[in-house]
């Protein structure tokens, strides 16, 4: 009788112990995952993917890492040069302010479009949005983690 009660006690405590062992292993895995994510240096704030580029420069599919301020235009002094006759010399700028991305039209001739609607001055954009500059279509994406 006493042995039976003792055995049940041991089993009960063992069950709780394994529950906590499981939790400990899971939490350790989570912390390791977070640490490795934090250890990776964040070089880029976001990336710009060229979806379509009829002029061929830059080629469709190419990817640009973005700084806090990235200028786009036909002039060679821009961070991203779009060699397209519909693009103004200094066409638009992508800026990262606070915790959000903005696109700013710098008084271009043919305008800047986000998901098909024209940008008037400064407009906030989100990851996954498509920006149209001249004939080129570019998509803002999250930095690779």
């Amino acid at each position: 009788m006493d042995a039976a009660v003792l055995a049940i006690w041991v089993l009960r405590l063992l069950f709780l112990a394994i529950l906590y062992a499981f939790l400990w292993m899971v939490v350790r895995a989570l912390i390791r995952d977070l640490r490795s994510a934090a250890r990776e240096p964040v070089r880029e704030l976001g990336r710009l993917v060229v979806v379509a580029s009829p002029s061929g420069e830059p080629a469709a599919g190419s990817v640009f890492a973005l700084d806090a301020i990235t200028s786009l235009g036909r002039d060679v002094n821009n961070a991203i040069v779009l060699d397209d006759e519909f693009v103004s010399a200094s066409h638009a700028a992508l800026t990262y302010r606070g915790r959000a991305w903005y696109v700013e039209d710098l008084g271009s001739t043919n305008g800047t479009f986000v998901n098909g609607s024209q940008v008037d001055g400064l407009a906030p954009i989100a990851f996954g949005d498509e920006i149209q500059i001249g004939q080129a279509r570019l998509r803002l994406e999250r930095a690779r983690t």
Binding site: I8, L11, R12, L16, Y20, A21, L23, V26, L30, A126
Partner: protein
């Protein structure tokens, strides 16, 4: 011979075309082994306790052989299903999350042990309680595997968000009109041989719709044009969905008398608004609307007032209205620090468990009695792990839609667990909602399985390009025409 060889080569080509390369999931396997050991020990503990009880009733406790699990078939089938899902995920070879499945497996297994221990006729006209629960658990695991393997593209979710919303509202209206009343709440809907609780599925549909809506209109919601005192609000038309959501929540309370679902929907809605806009103003405004609505409901509707009154003082009528809550509090008290052990809780009163609706609404109280404070803290920890994983998947997602979807899905599980655990503990008014993966009930298990399956699918670290956003508009069509 050659035909066979060429056939094999063709199969190899097929496999390459679909890029199926098995990938070892070591962490998942390790955690699942621990789940298997834990559930086996739990089953042994349950079996020994029940055998000792039976022997004491017979008056011959000395001669009994205590060793052996309670009912080996249940635990073997369940663990077999868990490892089968693991094997399927290994063969599919996607780089997906390895922690969600073992965590859900642990919760489901604890729920199964609890169902084995309760009177088996609680399930009603169906078979035994535990065997029905086991069938639903296995179907749920199959859904998790299916979604985690098959969902590679989310276009079908993001494109048709208004269709999803219409499906959800349709389900809700059908429940309003044709639903069957159970315990004063109109929850279940019977179509032909199937009956289920649409509000369980509705919570998944709601998150999908909100993710689509918020990711598309985030820009407009973040812009501010209205100011009320210190609050900065977006253009007023964009508050319309918030008002609609508030109305739907009120409608659910008034027509369906389902306080839990209303609370869940509104809480998830506010959390997602905050996640997608990072604006405290919305949360303040939403909480204000909640307080106004709750106060109005309290004064207008008897069933809401009863719930609040029971919460404030269950001992005013301990054998009537407050019976469930009082019994739950006694159960927690009996459990103490380490509990009475699985199967060692208070025996049934006249063939019923002491708390009415224990298997659906009060599994947390039952676990509190049998595993004690130590045990339920671990179970709350498991829910926290699920939420952390979901938010981590959201923060690593490639775009707004996936991020909001992952955050919303995991918050649905977390908020549900909070509402029912808080209700059982008399921290908040009790509302009839299920404890995810533990409570008895097919609809709830399947809906939560869909959530976990989608989360695992969303966690893939993909290199595939994203689908294009929806409103590309005139310019692109003009360009396409020009190119043609």
């Amino acid at each position: 011979m050659t035909a066979a060889a060429s056939g094999q080569r063709a199969v190899g080509r097929e496999a390459r075309r679909f890029r199926i390369t098995p990938r070892v999931r070591g962490r998942e396997l390790g955690l699942l082994s621990l789940v298997a050991i834990g559930l086996f020990i739990g089953s042994l503990s349950l079996g020994a306790t029940e055998r000792l009880k039976a022997a004491q009733l017979d008056g011959d406790p000395a001669s009994v052989n205590l060793l052996g699990p309670a009912d080996p078939a249940f635990i073997v089938v369940y663990l077999g299903a868990l490892f089968a899902v693991h094997l399927a995920l290994v063969i599919a070879g996607r780089r997906t999350d390895q922690i969600l499945l073992p965590t859900v497996g642990m919760l489901g297994g604890i729920g199964l042990l609890l169902m084995e221990r309760l009177p088996q006729d609680l399930a009603g006209r169906l078979g035994g309680l535990a065997s029905t629960q086991l069938v639903w658990l296995v179907i749920g695991l199959a859904i998790i595997a299916g979604l985690a393997i098959a969902v590679r593209n989310d276009v079908w979710l993001r494109r048709y968000k208004y269709t999803w919303a219409a499906v959800g509202v349709g389900l809700l209206l059908m429940t309003f009109l044709f639903g069957r009343d159970v315990n004063g709440a109109r929850l279940s809907l019977t179509i032909g041989p199937f009956s289920g609780q649409p509000s369980e599925l509705l919570k998944v549909i709601l998150v999908v719709f909100l993710a689509g809506y918020l990711s598309e209109n985030r820009r407009l919601l973040v812009e501010e044009s209205t100011r009320i005192g210190p609050l900065r609000l977006p253009p007023l038309p964009y508050l319309a969905p918030m008002v609609a959501m508030w109305t739907i929540a009120l409608g659910i309370v008034i027509v369906q008398r389902d306080l839990g679902a209303a609370l869940l929907f509104f809480a998830v809605f506010l959390l997602l608004l905050y996640v997608s806009t990072a604006r405290v103003g919305y949360v303040v405004l939403g909480l204000g609307a909640f307080v106004v609505g709750a106060a109005a409901l309290y004064f207008l509707f008897g069933h809401v007032r009863t719930r609040i009154d029971i919460w404030l003082d269950p001992f005013a009528d301990p054998n009537g209205a407050g019976y469930q809550v009082v019994q739950a509090l006694h159960a927690f008290a009996r459990g103490g620090l380490i509990g009475t052990g699985l199967g060692g809780g208070l025996p049934t009163i006249a063939g019923r468990p002491p708390i009415p609706a224990l298997h659906t609404d009060f599994p947390f109280a039952a676990l509190g009695e049998e595993l004690g404070l130590v045990g339920i803290l671990a179970i709350l920890g498991l829910y926290l792990v699920l939420v952390e994983r979901g938010l981590r998947i959201a923060s690593a997602a490639q775009d707004e839609f996936r991020a909001i979807l992952a955050a919303g899905l995991s918050l649905v599980i977390g908020v549900q667990a909070f509402i029912i655990a808080g209700g059982n503990l008399k921290l908040i008014p009790l509302t009839g909602i299920t404890l995810p993966f533990v409570s008895y009930g097919g609809s709830s298990l399947l809906a939560n399985a869909v959530i976990v399956g989608l989360l695992i699918a969303l966690s893939e670290r993909t290199r595939d390009p994203l689908p294009p956003p929806r409103r590309l508009g005139r310019i692109r069509r003009m360009l396409d025409r020009g190119a043609a």
